[in-house]
Symmetry: C2
DNA sequence: TTGTATGCGTTATCAT
DNA sequence: ATGATAACGCATACAA
């Protein structure tokens, strides 16, 4: 490995000057000296050691994100946006996949603490994440869903109750009188909100609501839906996530049902993939770009003093063919 | 931050002993002392600083992967497997998304060098990646596609020529006499091999072969395919990647064409998603688990001395409905 | 078995 | 403007 010392020797100067050159400060360097350093560095292919730099400077220029499943298009989109955003600010994004498992989630968080990330974006599998160690480590956290009161983490999310109400309301306005709701496991973040929202929108509407859960996987959603459709099936299904909606679409096709004529379907994330499903999927759209941008701002621009904040972002209903709109 | 020194003080011992305890060596520690250290560490919620550890030990326990597009299910699957594999070996996986851009790819590689990763898995956007700096940094690299001769990187891949031949041969065996081939950009890794393989399999078969390219994106593939289908369309299309095949499926549906009756489709990755597309997608299947496992072995278990290796893994044709098999 | 002291590569303070 | 040097937190060779 070639170090600042090697560069200094070759340039006939000291390591301090090498550091000044590569950081544009904090001390000025004579143009001639600077050039000698740059030349020496180029010839030696010198790359500053980010570890040493971080150890000395006290920040790593990295942030971490933990998601339940990186193959879920919504989380992949989130990771993609976050990566772009962090890169634009010269930071590295560390991605942790919890596989929907609480212990693995904690293990990633611990790993991030050990690696001294400057901040963490969290999509927890638990509705009441523990966040053990994060506060004592002094690492800021922003969760992309509601957090229980008194939490040390900031929260940046859409209003899931309102979103579910929007979705259910839209299905009702299509005239569908029996609505199915497919969410993730009972204790996963958002499930309760979705149910409340749907209840609100259908109250006094003479609409039958039925609730099912599946893992947040298109494959498991397909399984669950297949048996659902085989019996007394709803006229429309609102899925808490796109991933599950994809599974519903497939199950409907397998069952020989036409979407939206026999069964209307609504997704809950509004990922880009919705535009090319068969048929294109109407969905509640989460503002991924804002989610990413604001997460980064919250993490990187927060003053040490200020506590956790709770921010609600607007959602949108994107109408495509699966609900019967087009 | 709580350091080893804090733990040592509280346990009434030295930092050396704290280190011995946390690393199970290299010196033994008396059970009683050990327990005191463990207790102190627990009470203080001590987490060893991975940066300092890495700086001192000379390895970071991390490996990096650079892929063109993390939202592509094949790369997402790769990342997922790799992450599981590295975690099993107590390493962290750093994921870099090049966005299909050569400069961004290099920028990620540089970032990985600076962060002193122990190894790099590369899926390059270029058929002749430059890998500047990697060799001088002494970081082992394994590419998941063929590399030009004389490269410093190992190569771990299926035989794309044979895979394409398998695919084209299968379509021919279905009796399709006009076959379309949709690959990524001309200079992307594998494109040439695919064309050669298809040519081999169709030689002297009185089969018409037509080649188109698109970005490796389902959306762009949809665009390209739509105009393709509008004119003199092929009876079957073999796509170099699943991502593109998904776009073809959608374009066919949009055009009112039935798959496989009007148009047969074959994918090139064999991701899990193929099982739930409409209709399910037949595809060449890449051995993602082996790709991941062996990459990790190559990077982590290589003796300093041994040079780059070239390994060919077997592929498989998975028959589903899109080609007409079921 | 345990403590002391040095080095890892960088930054930044204090001299010069 | 630049050089010497002390941290940063941990691992380990060397002492005891």
């Amino acid at each position: 490995m070639v170090t600042a010392r090697d560069v200094a020797e070759r340039a006939g100067t000291s390591t301090a000057v090498v550091s000044y050159v590569f950081n544009n400060g904090p001390r000025p360097v004579a143009p001639k000296t600077r050039q000698r350093v740059l030349d020496a560095a180029a010839e030696l292919q010198y790359r500053p050691n980010a570890l040493a730099r971080a150890l000395s400077a006290g920040r790593t220029f990295s942030i971490g994100i933990v998601v339940p499943h990186i193959r879920n298009p919504y989380f992949a989109a989130l990771a993609e946006q976050l990566e772009a955003g962090t890169r634009a600010r010269n930071h590295l994004l560390l991605i942790g996949d919890s596989g929907g498992d609480s212990a693995q989630e904690q293990s990633h968080l611990t790993s991030f603490i050990e690696r001294q990330v400057d901040g963490i974006v969290l999509v927890s599998v638990r509705s009441q994440p523990e966040l053990v160690g994060l506060d004592t480590a002094g690492i800021p956290v922003v969760a992309l869903h509601r957090m229980p009161g008194g939490s040390r983490a900031s929260s940046l999310a859409i209003d899931s109750v309102a979103a579910a109400a929007t979705a259910a309301g839209h299905l009702v306005s299509h005239g569908y009188r029996s609505i199915g709701v497919l969410t993730g496991p009972i204790d996963s973040p958002g499930t309760e909100e979705h149910l409340i929202g749907v209840a609100e929108a259908t109250r006094g509407q003479r609409v039958k609501v039925e609730h099912r859960t599946s893992e947040i996987s298109r494959y498991h959603a397909t399984e669950v839906t297949s048996s659902w459709l085989a019996n007394e099936r709803p006229r429309a299904i609102y899925c808490a996530t796109d991933e599950q909606a994809f599974g519903v679409l497939f199950a409907a096709w397998r069952a020989g049902l036409s979407v939206p004529d026999d069964l209307a379907v609504l997704g809950g994330d509004g990922t880009a993939e919705c535009a090319v499903t068969i048929p294109p999927l109407s969905a509640i759209q989460r503002p991924v770009p804002q989610l990413a941008t604001r997460s980064i701002e919250l993490l990187l621009d927060a003053s040490p003093g200020d506590g956790p904040v709770t921010i609600t972002l607007p959602h949108e209903l994107v109408r495509r063919e699966s609900c019967g709109c087009i």
